[in-house]
């Protein structure tokens, strides 16, 4: 392992902003998609129960 400390890890050799923004965007997009689908399928199931 090449990280001396936790702050070393978050700094990413000075590129922390770019690296973490990239991974954060990926987590947000993929997590957001799952959340939207979750709500959509829950709404669909709810509608059908109500009918």
């Amino acid at each position: 392992m090449q990280w001396g400390s936790l702050s070393d890890f978050f700094a990413m050799g000075g590129y922390g902003l770019y690296v973490w923004t990239s991974f954060g965007a990926a987590a947000l997009c993929m997590g957001g998609e799952v959340l939207l689908l979750w709500r959509r399928s829950a709404a669909a199931a709810g509608n059908h129960d109500g009918e």
Binding site: M1, Q2, W3, F9, M12, G13, G14, Y15, Y18, V19, T21, S22, F23, A25, A26, C29, M30, E33, V34, L37, R40, S41, A44, A45, H48, D49, E51
Partner: protein
């Protein structure tokens, strides 16, 4: 086909497909989460710092898998669209419809992470390079296909029109893939290809491939979840709940 004991044609019915998709989602989700966690671990804790790009190169572990999925999902979407047009099969059109938003999401992610990588290494967020431009066109294609579908009220017409658009647009995928060879681009060439040995350290390639498979499994899980919503929206039948059995569905039909 008869010797497998499974009647595959059963799944050409949206109702049966809805049930099958529901059973497959948890498996693909678990495998996807596992692979992504392993990929992140290798990418951040095992793979060494790059000699020329420092730690900025670690963006590759999300950028390349997202870019591959953006092209791969387009081809899969076009294949489903083609099958739908050829066999006039509703579930095929539904699959094409379900893939488009995930493909668009990965295309956006590839462009976004690419600009996050471009700034520290090239000094620019964006350049009108062949690779970047053709990938941006892919995003517009996905958006165009989604908007065309939503602009046509008649579902059968919407299916066919968006399928034709998807099939015509598939020509852009080889252009994106080979753009770094055909034109003199700022974007670097392929780090990993089928025909040549990788130009990266072994652990870097491993992390990238593991992330790629993780994104692939994620795409399957999300597409199946969306196709269930699409089927439920389009078929509007009762008994879509988890407890529905084939017998209930047959009765409702």
């Amino acid at each position: 086909m008869s010797n497998t004991g499974i009647n595959w044609f059963k799944y050409s019915s949206p109702q049966a497909f809805h049930l099958l998709a529901g059973r497959m989602i948890p498996w693909f989700s678990v495998v996807s989460i596992g692979l992504i966690l392993i990929g992140l671990y290798i990418g951040f804790f095992v793979a060494p710092t790059d000699a020329t790009q420092g730690d900025a190169y670690r963006i590759i572990f999300v950028h390349v898998p997202a870019a591959w999925m953006s092209m791969f999902l387009y081809v899969i979407m076009a294949i489903w669209a083609g099958i739908g047009l050829g066999l006039n099969a509703r579930p095929s059109f539904m699959m094409a419809q379900a893939i488009a938003p995930t493909g668009a999401m990965f295309t956006f992610l590839a462009l976004f992470t690419g600009s996050m990588w471009g700034k520290p290494t090239w000094g620019a967020w964006w350049v009108w390079d062949a690779r970047l431009t053709s990938e941006l066109i892919l995003l517009f294609q996905y958006i165009g296909i989604i908007l065309l579908r939503s602009s046509i009220d008649d579902l059968r017409r919407a299916d066919r029109a968006s399928a034709v658009l998807a099939l015509v647009g598939v020509v852009n995928v080889p252009i994106i893939y080979f753009s770094v060879k055909w034109w003199n681009t700022l974007h670097q060439g392929a780090s990993v290809s089928i025909t040549a040995a990788p130009t990266m350290a072994g652990t870097m390639v491993t992390a990238m491939l593991v992330m790629m498979f993780g994104f692939w499994m994620y795409s399957i899980a999300v597409t199946l979840a969306r196709v269930r919503c699409v089927i439920a929206d389009r078929e509007r039948l009762p008994s879509w709940g988890k407890q529905a059995s084939m017998a209930d569905v047959a009765e409702a039909r």
